[in-house]
Symmetry: C2
Subunit: 341 residues, 2 copies
DNA sequence: ATGAAAGCGCTAACAG
DNA sequence: CTGTTAGCGCTTTCAT
């Protein structure tokens, strides 16, 4: 059923010959609609259509130096948090007529650097999501080609960050309104920029409320990090915990359930990210939602701006967050003796 | 902090001049290590390194006609089912020194076709995952450039499919061993190739067991499809349901919980895919796991083979599935009166 | 408004 | 082993 040869793609010269015009006219018909006779253009376009002609992007890139391609690097494609980023970036790129190349850094700075180097010549710019690269390396890369960061701020580099200040305040307000007098923060990886922002926001908000905020950890920001974190919570007298992210929060809840601890009856649990699954785990998780798709598309837009004209002092774009209250948080119960397994 | 101009990338001529050799020698130093004097090569490479030279992929592509780029199209990037496919494909592509371009077809045949057309000239081939394109269009596209399909079989086109025959038999065996005398299949989109395969496998296996298999639906293969499906199940006397996919299964379980129906006490629920979340929904879902990462990497490999040499009769690669038994399936209870909300 | 010609960066003949 | 030359497909002056 397969045809013998993948037949050669039609080139601009093929179209030119078939249409009886010069190659440059065909080129103009596609790229400078105004600078060519209307009738000629119609004719050329028709012939091109018939021949199934599409401009060769490589040739265009060679000439212009621009590839019309953008790179997006994420730590882990299967992490649902980044699915939204990818989706938003893909949509924005397509809308701008650009192609998106995806790279998975495997949470590894070395892989990330390697990808930047390898992909560099093939793209007009990079979106680096939750980059693990040190500041100076980021800056160096930004000198070579436009870069936009997501949830990572580095002076001189464009970035899109979530509004953790407001978000964490909302979380603390929520817990306070439920009668909690303090909470435990279950920390994630120490190098995580967003983790640091989350904790500092929470601490400041707690102070403003006269609440006691304690930080435990670091824990792996995964389901597997749950048991250790949950046990530490149980050993404390905390009535509420805020986890580094939803993965950890869900892992904690699972362990608490095994231990016969009622959530939110005995302990309230809050996460970050509002990942896929946060609404159907048990109990459904109260969490701070980030607009990941927006972050992805905004980052692409920032990049596009930079490729048009070098921006001297790229601004940090702050995206609103949103507290989604579900079933994992509730009123603090007085003196309910905690049952242990 | 940003430097004024993104300095011009070094070209092969820059290196040639700096090294005092011809451009072609530089080229050979990179691509034909054997055909150049060892000392010359060392020198050239050193100069290139110093100048930060990297070959321009666009120029290479223009010359060779090969872009060293592969396209991967999925219906919905945020659907966790495809995250594994993307990850596996990305890994395989990187391992092969190829770049992966990602496209989201938005479950829309028109968008898919458009993406194929737009990306076509920029890639050496496509992996189409769960394509919605009709057979003839798929075949037509396959004539223009190498294509590999995932979970979709079209004669003459390479494909990677899950072993639904064995998988569905495992599901039915499992239900039979728990004492169920029949089950309801909650169908997904009518155009879904894998949906059709799932149902025909289940039906055949049921027949072999003398079990009664009934098909309901179609339902949206999402959480939102759950309520309608669950209510239909309740109206029947089914003791077990098999849903088109995990999303629907989880949606069904959620509704059943709202209705006070115990899973698996009163109804057993089985899904397909083993998506992220299937293990932490409540109860944890029994489901048929597909090796999505494998599917992604295998598809890339099949594509790479095709780009090397045109394969006349590409084989269909069947990937094993795996029944993951969790908490949502159990022994059928006799005569337990069903409580309705 | 259109054609002719040069050149983007690289590789592949073809000499030498 | 290495230099010279031509050309991949396209855009872009520069003429006309």
């Amino acid at each position: 059923m397969t045809s013998g040869q993948p037949r050669r793609r039609a080139t601009i010269t093929d179209v030119a010959e078939a249409a009886g015009v010069a190659a440059s006219t065909v080129s103009r018909a596609f790229t400078r609609p105004g600078r060519v006779n209307h009738a000629t253009r119609e004719h050329v376009l028709a012939v091109a259509e018939e021949l199934g002609y599409t401009p060769n992007p490589a040739a265009r890139a060679l000439e212009s130096g621009r590839t019309n391609t953008l790179g997006l690097l994420v730590p882990d494609i299967t992490n649902p948090y980044f699915a939204g980023v990818i989706k938003g970036a893909e949509r924005a790129a397509t809308a701008a007529g650009l192609t998106l190349v995806l790279g998975d850094t495997q949470e590894n700075p070395a892989t990330e650097e390697q990808l930047v180097r390898r992909l560099g010549p093939a793209v007009d710019g990079f979106v680096l999501s939750a980059s693990r690269l040190p500041d100076d390396e980021l800056r160096r890369a930004a000198e070579l080609c436009p870069i936009a960061l997501i949830n990572r701020a580095t002076p001189g580099v464009a970035c899109i960050v979530a509004d953790y200040d407001t978000g964490t305040r909302q979380i603390v307000d929520h817990l306070a309104s439920l009668g909690h007098r303090g909470f435990v923060f279950l920390g994630g990886p120490p190098e995580s920029w967003s983790g640091a922002r989350r904790w500092s926001g929470l601490r400041a908000a707690a102070q403003a409320h006269g609440m006691v905020a304690t930080r435990f950890g670091p824990y792996a920001p995964t389901l597997a990090g749950g048991p250790a974190a949950a046990d530490a919570v149980l050993a404390s007298e905390a009535t509420a915990v805020v986890a580094h992210n939803d993965m950890l929060a869900i892992g904690v809840m699972r362990r608490l359930a095994e231990r016969g601890v009622d959530v939110p009856g005995q302990v309230s649990v809050v996460g970050f990210d509002d990942i896929f699954g946060a609404d159907f785990c048990n109990p459904a998780l109260t969490t701070l939602a980030e607009r990941t798709e927006d972050a992805g598309s905004r980052a692409i837009e920032a990049l596009v701006q930079q490729t048009h004209a070098r921006i001297e002092h790229p601004a940090a774009r702050v995206l609103p967050t949103q507290l989604v209250v579900r079933a994992s948080t509730g009123r603090v119960r007085r003196a309910s003796p905690r049952r242990r397994a």
